[in-house]
């Protein structure tokens, strides 16, 4: 097998994974924001969010497998699992490993959400906000050799999209129509401090 082919596949799959992951993050935020229109019901956002998340894992697997089996980088399987254990670009690659593991945790807990319960699922799902920046940094750190203009553009689009969505989510506040009333009632009947 052509090793250079592996190498390009690694990079291509990595870039595609980042784009997919960013799309998944944006879709997740849109679903929290309850975005909808007559031809775009809310379950479409959620369905696409889930499908693309699974797809991200597939391309991430391609990215990792091709990187590991590539004899040139000499990574070894351990580097794919243990962060900062590779000789090759120890730091930047370590970030990728962390991002991968966080994403794995987020996706796996989502698949068994009914078993672990909403609270635990939600806590783990917040890790996305750690996973995505690690993935971006990993891309910047390991990917900016010579084709940086392309990759940079792609990454810039991803970053702008996710930051815009996150910012909007922060500004918009809770979309639960009961959030305010619920917390004020809770404050009125909460007796935990007393006892």
């Amino acid at each position: 097998m052509n090793d250079t082919l592996l190498w390009y596949t690694t990079r291509g799959a990595g870039a595609v994974s980042l784009v997919l992951l960013s799309a998944v993050v944006v879709l997740g935020i849109l679903s929290v924001l309850r975005v909808q229109s007559p031809s775009w019901p809310r379950f479409l956002t959620v369905g696409l969010h889930r499908n693309l998340a699974l797809m991200t894992l597939v391309f991430l697997a391609l990215h990792i497998v091709t990187a590991v089996v590539d004899p040139f980088t000499h990574l070894g399987w351990l580097a794919a699992v243990i962060p900062f254990s590779s000789y090759y670009r120890t730091f930047w690659l370590g970030l990728g490993t962390i991002a991968f593991e966080l994403l794995l945790a987020v996706v796996l807990t989502s698949l068994v959400r009914g078993l672990i319960g909403q609270v635990a699922w939600r806590l783990v799902h917040w890790l996305t906000y750690a996973c995505w920046p690690f993935a971006v940094l990993h891309g910047v750190g390991t990917g900016t050799d010579a084709w940086s203009a392309w990759l940079f553009t792609l990454q810039a689009i991803c970053v702008v999209a996710v930051l815009a969505a996150t910012g909007y989510r922060l500004l918009a506040g809770s979309r639960d129509p009961l959030a305010r009333e619920r917390s004020s009632f809770l404050a009125a009947v909460d007796r935990r401090e007393q006892r």
């Binding site: 390009y8 291509g12 090759y88």
Partner: protein
Amino acid sequence: MAFRGGDDTYTMEPKDTIQDRVRARDAAMRLLNRLTAGAAVSAVVGVGLLGAIGALTIPGTPSTAATTTSTATSSTSSSSSSGLQASSSPVSSSSSSGVAVSGGS
């Protein structure tokens, strides 16, 4: 706050019949499948395309697989990273093969 209790809700007998909503659901399900399939195809093409762009835009001397494997066996951290710089591969041939492989996968 989105508290609806005013006069506007009075006439809010469901304007859409169940049939309408079932049709909308089925259309959206189809759209979801199409979007997912479209994303999958674009992603596969994207791997090939980005791989090709990578190959096209990396200048430098072509190096063969043989040299990379040989560096790998005697690798230290420094030698492997320097090996990367040198290993940028033949431009035209790998790009076309990259696309071909991605299309097949």
